[in-house]
Symmetry: C2
Subunit: 115 residues, 2 copies
């Protein structure tokens, strides 16, 4: 057990949930914030984070896995940067999510029943 039953849910939900999960750690949000300022050498990111090199490397990997960042080899080091296409796409996903919620609730019906 404990295996995620992702199969049972629509692909849209699974994709958005994966993205949300990637954002679900303050360290990873901090990395995105750092990279929003400018593209960065891995070591610079580590220096600014209260986590060890190996742990930061893992977080970078997860952000890479959902496509939010890319790493490019630059001599002996790696330059990380945001993938703005992916960021905008993720943004759209969340906008749609919240818009969908807000739309269905515009009638104020819920507050009557449960508020």
């Amino acid at each position: 057990m404990a295996e995620r039953k992702t199969v049972e849910f629509s692909e849209d939900l699974v994709v958005l949930a994966d993205m949300a999960k990637a954002l679900g750690h303050p360290g990873r949000l901090e990395i995105l914030r750092i990279l929003a300022g400018r593209a960065c050498i891995c070591g610079d990111i580590v220096d600014r984070m209260p986590l060890s090199q190996s742990t930061v490397s893992q977080h970078l990997k997860e952000l890479k896995n959902v496509g939010l960042i890319r790493g490019e080899i630059e001599g002996p080091r790696i330059c990380y940067c945001l993938d703005m296409d992916a960021v905008v796409n993720a943004q759209k996903g969340f906008v749609r999510l919240f818009e969908g919620i807000a739309l269905c609730n515009s009638g104020g019906e819920i507050n009557e029943k449960c508020g």
Copy 2:
């Protein structure tokens, strides 16, 4: 180890990360989608989900913990509904996150360096 080092990060990031984590499961997104349609008896939610009653109950608890939903006792059953204030607040958090990222990148500086 493995304890989350939330203390080391700014409160804003921790709060947003907690919210993202709550959204980081397709089942919980599905619950929000269901409740966006209308307030719902717990049993009705369970009926629409490919998960057991106890598992759904746990997911409801997590959504309650971050404040996105509320449950109100209604005789022998519980009526769940979105807390629209919390939803809007969460939405604002994500909007700020993505706006912050987009703003810093408006110069196109990143694409030159890493893209």
